[in-house]
């Protein structure tokens, strides 16, 4: 049950964002019929699943909304701003009440009533309910003859044939004839067997499938025949019904011929009139049928192009695939060392297949960033209204795909950055006009691939960041001294220092100085980076660089004694070889590189590895994050390696310089090092010794 609830909530959330997205577009183009249909469809689905899940309050509420959009769709009313506004408010309300459908909070309950009244008011403004409902109900009726002779042993399966007949009768008006097998005596009668058979005349929609579905569990053993006998409702004609034989258990069975015979005896005018009526009904419903069909095609397209899979299952798939890749690496290694051409060929094939499989599985865990962008659409609209600013929100590259975990952890930082742009970046209307800018400000949220990274940019054409002001503020906050010479980039980086805010006043939306540092931390946590560009008076551009995924890391495989380590490639600036004795004399632990002196960290010493069989030569890896450069000394470099990151578990959470482990081709484990933590270690040490 809990599970069902979660599925329902997930689906509802999807639908909400779908409706919101369409509504936002509709605000700009209120006549777009495909969008209106989309809104209607989503509401319809929402209503369906709500009532299925048992929250009738939600279902009733959505029903009224749906009715409005049904009328909009039918061009009976125009999609006015009040309707859109009411819908937005209703959506917000719905988001709340789907969580607790009984609406325990009295304030919510009151709001619920108020909104319902408002929607009903909107409904009243547009009369004409009856027409729609009658029209929706009209469908083409046909008359069928169904003959059903159940298998004699039908009771053994626990099936009750009467229930099947009842079920048929629910499909439409019907006339049932039942028969008993002849020649039964009390001696031959076996109470466990079924001796009854039925003929049913049924008036139903022009589709035999629902009828056949009734018999789906007995169709293999029982005799079932379904025939269409007339294009119309025969049972509504007294001329026909009067000819039908009385219900008699011992009577003769009805056949197709009987029925046709009866029909031929009905006066032609009567038949024609009946057909005509049917025709009229058809005309009336054509439109409905057409929209239903488009709905169907839309529905089926969607169900083909995407299915819902729980992310746990995907994670499990990824695990299995990475295991397969590891095993395959072992196979390849073995086949290379054993010169067996057949084995080689097989190993090559397995390698190719598993690589493809890995790519596909990997792609499956990626989702489009547009899901996230959509959310901001709405926020921008609300906040800009609240601030009284006119803002055009543009998104680009919504089809860029990223790991779900990354997208989840991007929501907060992006939200913060957009709020900042809205609050501090974009000027008020008057100010913009004075400056000769278009009255409407623009915020552009875009995303694109470049190399192995995804970039996300938030760009506004607002007032920009004043580097001089930041400098001043930083000096008064004693972050820097007056004599420090900073590049523009370094100055802008100051805004990420905790507690640093340029906003003159703290507003509802931003300016408390907690924020940019948190944004930066969040981005670093997902192995991304953040940079700011800005020109006074022209606008600000913030760029986030993100890895495609968190589970696979491109690294350099290195060895220290017997242990393998992986250093993330993104943090590596340079690699080179030196003689170990060049290091050992060095007291300050500084290494000379070109003209620079760089502090170094010998992993042997750092990790307290015994000084046995120290090789003569050592390799230096130059690590760099934005402010620090540190050389790390290892025994040897093996090569590049694509590592599938696995956690080492809670027991090792204090060894934070290890961000995970990965399994190498030969089944051994390599530890993935966190370059940031390694650099931090060195810096702390330097400070201690200083």
């Amino acid at each position: 049950m809990e599970n069902l609830h979660n599925i329902y909530l997930e689906e509802a959330e999807d639908l909400f964002s779908k409706i919101e997205e369409s509504l936002l577009l509709l605000e700009k183009a209120p006549d777009d019929s495909s969008l209106i249909a989309e809104v209607f469809r989503s509401m319809h689905t929402l209503k369906g699943s709500s009532s299925m899940y048992g929250s009738n309050k939600v279902a009733d509420f959505v029903h009224n909304l749906e009715t409005i959009y049904d009328r909009v769709r039918g061009r009976e009313i125009d999609l006015s701003q009040p309707i859109i506004d009411a819908t937005f408010r209703s959506l917000d309300h719905l988001k709340k009440i789907v969580q607790s459908p009984d609406i325990p909070d009295p304030i919510d309950a009151k709001y619920h009533e108020k909104l319902t009244a408002e929607i009903l008011g909107l409904l009243d403004e547009s009369e004409g309910t009856d027409k729609i409902i009658t029209r929706a109900k009209g469908t083409k009726k046909k008359t069928f003859l169904i003959s059903f002779t159940p298998d004699k042993d039908i009771f053994i399966n626990g099936t009750n044939p009467i229930l099947l007949v009842d079920e048929l009768a629910e499909l439409g008006a019907s006339q049932v004839f039942s028969y008993m097998e002849k020649g039964l005596s009390s001696k031959t009668f076996d109470p466990k067997k079924c001796y009854t058979s039925w003929d049913i005349l049924l008036v139903a929609d022009d589709d035999v499938n629902p009828i056949k579905d009734v018999f789906i569990f007995v169709e293999e053993t029982s005799k079932i025949a379904v025939d269409k006998v007339f294009d119309g409702n025969l049972l509504s004609l007294p001329e026909f019904t009067s000819q039908l034989p009385p219900v008699d258990l011992k009577g003769k069975r009805l056949t197709l011929k009987n029925i046709q015979n009866f029909i031929s005896k009905i006066p032609k005018e009567v038949l024609e009139r009946q057909e005509e009526e049917n025709q009229i009904m058809e005309v009336e419903v054509t439109e409905e049928v057409v929209t239903e069909e488009t709905q169907k095609t839309h529905g089926s397209e969607e169900s083909i192009t995407s299915i819902r899979v729980s992310s746990d299952k995907l994670d499990e798939l990824m695990n299995q695939v990475s295991e397969l890749v590891t095993t395959q690496a072992g196979l390849s290694m073995y086949s290379e060392n054993n010169f067996d051409p057949v084995l080689n060929a097989i190993a090559d094939n397995v390698e190719k297949l598993s690589r493809q499989l890995r790519d596909i599985a990997f792609e499956m865990t990626l989702i489009q960033i547009s899901n996230l962008f959509r959310r901001f659409n709405r926020v921008t609209r609300d906040i800009s209204n609240q601030l009284g600013k006119a803002v055009k929100f543009v998104t680009e590259g919504g089809d860029t795909e990223l790991d779900k975990k990354i997208i989840d952890s991007l929501a907060d930082p992006l939200m913060h950055l957009i709020r900042n742009s809205l609050d501090h970046g974009i000027e008020s209307r008057e100010e913009r006009v004075k400056k000769g800018k278009p009255e409407k400000g623009t915020i552009k949220l875009s995303s694109y691939y470049s190399g192995a990274k995804v970039y996300i940019q938030i760009e506004d054409d607002g007032r920009g960041i004043d580097a001089a002001k930041i400098r001043e503020k930083a000096i008064t906050n004693r972050l820097i001294s007056k004599d420090d010479k900073l590049s523009e980039k370094e100055i802008f980086d100051l805004i990420f220092v905790p507690g640093f805010s340029l906003a003159k006043s703290v507003t509802d939306i931003s300016g408390r100085g907690v924020g940019m540092d948190v944004v930066k931390k969040n981005i670093l946590d997902i192995r991304g980076d953040i940079s700011v560009e800005s020109k006074i008076g022209e606008g600000t551009k913030i760029t986030l660089g993100l890895p495609l995924t968190l589970s696979v890391i491109d690294g350099l495989l290195v060895k220290v004694q017997e242990t393998s380590f992986i250093v993330p490639l993104v943090d590596i600036k340079k690699c080179f070889e030196i003689k170990r004795d060049e290091l050992s004399n060095d007291f300050n632990e500084l290494i000379k590189l070109e003209d620079d002196k760089i502090p170094y960290l010998d992993l042997r010493k750092e990790f307290l590895i015994k000084n046995e069989d120290v090789p003569e030569k050592a390799s230096i890896i130059l690590l760099e994050n934005e402010n620090n450069r540190i050389a790390v000394c290892v025994d040897s470099i093996v090569g590049e390696y694509q590592a599938v990151l696995k956690p080492v578990g809670k027991y090792y959470r204090n060894q934070e310089f290890v961000s995970g482990a990965t399994i190498l081709g030969d089944g051994s484990i390599a530890l993935v090092l966190d370059a940031y933590k390694i650099i931090a270690r060195k810096i702390v040490k330097q400070k201690k010794s200083a």
């Binding site: 295991e323 242990t563 080492v648």
Partner: protein, 176 residues
Amino acid sequence: MRSIEEEQEHTEVVESYLSFKLDEEFFAVDVKKVIEILEVPGITSIPLSPDYMAGIINLRGKVLPLIDTKVKFGLDPIEFTVDTCIVVIEIEVEGETLQIGTLVDSVLEVLDVPNSNIQPSPSIEAKYRLDFIRGMIRRDDDFIMLLNLDEVFSIQDVMYMQEANENMSSTELTEK
């Protein structure tokens, strides 16, 4: 007619325990907590971790942390022989179920022990921390110590030992 006590004795719960040896002492763990028993494969040690954290191994594509049970109980670090085994157990840590591997000198047998045969641990012999021991099983002349796994391998304890360890290593550093 049987007395009520006899009846109770008759319907008593018998549970299975896996027994193993550390040095010359016998220990047992609830069989329901044991996932499997492995031979010792190549172990990757993690630098700067506490002594009783023996490293990690590759268990069919998963990373399994290993604990040197002997160090944990204040004995000498384990020496690898043909009998050395890894008992993979499942424990409850901070509301999560984790799998860990425990290194033991040798695995003995699975015992079926009625609950009444488990005696409370004697409070006098405080050789091992009492909250680690759930009870004692008498077997011939020997006592088998029944371990309270969730307690023995709780992470809090790991953190505590960790701090002690780090203090040690930092004093080492300053000495240098």
